[in-house]
Symmetry: C2
Subunit: 255 residues, 2 copies
Amino acid sequence: MHYKVKEVADMAGISVRTLHHYDQIGLLVPDTITPSGYRLYSEQNLERLQQILFFKEMGFRLQEIKHILDHPHFDRKKALQAHREMLIKKKERLEEMIKTVEKTIQSIEGGIQMEKKEMFKGFDMREIEEHQKKYAQEAREKYGKEMVEKVEQRTSTYTKEDWATIKTKTEEIYNRIIARMEYGPEDAQVQEAVAEWRQLITDYFYECTLDIFRGLGDLYVNDERFTKNIDQFKKGLAAFLREAIHVYCDRHKSE
Amino acid sequence: MHYKVKEVADMAGISVRTLHHYDQIGLLVPDTITPSGYRLYSEQNLERLQQILFFKEMGFRLQEIKHILDHPHFDRKKALQAHREMLIKKKERLEEMIKTVEKTIQSIEGGIQMEKKEMFKGFDMREIEEHQKKYAQEAREKYGKEMVEKVEQRTSTYTKEDWATIKTKTEEIYNRIIARMEYGPEDAQVQEAVAEWRQLITDYFYECTLDIFRGLGDLYVNDERFTKNIDQFKKGLAAFLREAIHVYCDRHKSE
DNA sequence: CTTACGCTATAACGTAACGTTAGAGTCAAT
DNA sequence: ATTGACTCTAACGTTACGTTATAGCGTAAG
């Protein structure tokens, strides 16, 4: 009895292409080829295929399998023992990788906690989160609580590096504003920086609508923790920021 | 400060080609390119390379690494967790492979023992080994003990299939001889079969010199275990074989 | 200034084991 | 004769580079 490619493929649970491939590399050459070029596989072919699939399952490469099957003299036991060593080494490597990944995950988790505390030195971005939470009590009716959850979900995954990036970017924006304070809150470069500030909040925390943004500006003056932090950079910056944000929001009212 | 490819490669312990590749796929694009096309890497580039190598060590693919590094928003923790799952599955798969390979090794070892016993039904090839051992006591002085050890070392790794092959081939040769017994031991086809028989012994057991071969022929008649076994195929075959082997050995004396 | 040596560049094939089209022929039933 | 299921070969795509091959660049020594 002879079988055609698809029959064999279905029996063995492999693809036709695989059989073509095995034929190509001489690993499993069909018993017969019809005049029209069809491959016909014999029972013996099927047995050999069994063997092939076994060794493949064991992780041998096709060339190795070919060698093992084509040379009955070949020492299968030694081949299997050597293969076993390889598998064990691979396993050990994987185990180390797993350990390191787990450590990294932990350090990310720990890092976030640490960072949130360390951040108090200098500028603390967490307060924006706080504002968000406070504001959220009012905003909850407007936007639903999904937004609040989104912020927490989002920031909870940030790494040390993320926080550092945020800090750096923020400081850069602040410095640009400070450099233009003398030109007043309407100054084009100040307004540009304000726009970037809003974008940064949107990028890293929550969609900073005009309403929210304006509220944040007020907070800089009304909440002394904010005022203190911001005025560290430059006396009067908090108040200036509030004005600049108001200008910005007035100009973008139509949004 | 900027570094050229080889400098970076040596620092990081990777190849220049690797850096070219990372540039090609946009994973690590050098900070500067000189007018003559030289790649110049900045400190920032080096930092990114560190990250790349870390994730690579962890088994991430380059495209994944690119995604992780290019999108700070990307949830590294989740990526690591998902990756961890993958690694664990891979590890488990490897563990199963190792188990199966070990079982297979054991079954080969066991199979040889079983086979040696099962072989008593029908024709027992082990007796050739025995002969070899007996003969070895005399031959030891001639050839040293390495030969004896070789036989044992060789046959100890044979699988069930190997023994079955040997059995089949032997029986085929015997049958061809039986078919020509009426033409006497000098018959060309008989002599051809005898030559193949000697070759088979050489292939599967030990280098069957003329001296040994002649001794083996005598054994077929002198040792009743052999006589019994061989005469199972056909009455008088053992004696006929002895004659045929003697003819063969006389004809090949010059070797 | 020229030569030489070491470094750098691009281009392109090779690797493992098939997956995936694409275009064309085959077989058996209607 | 047509259709639908199946088959064929050919060739590119995938992953992360290694490995030539050919040619230009840069700097120190003669």
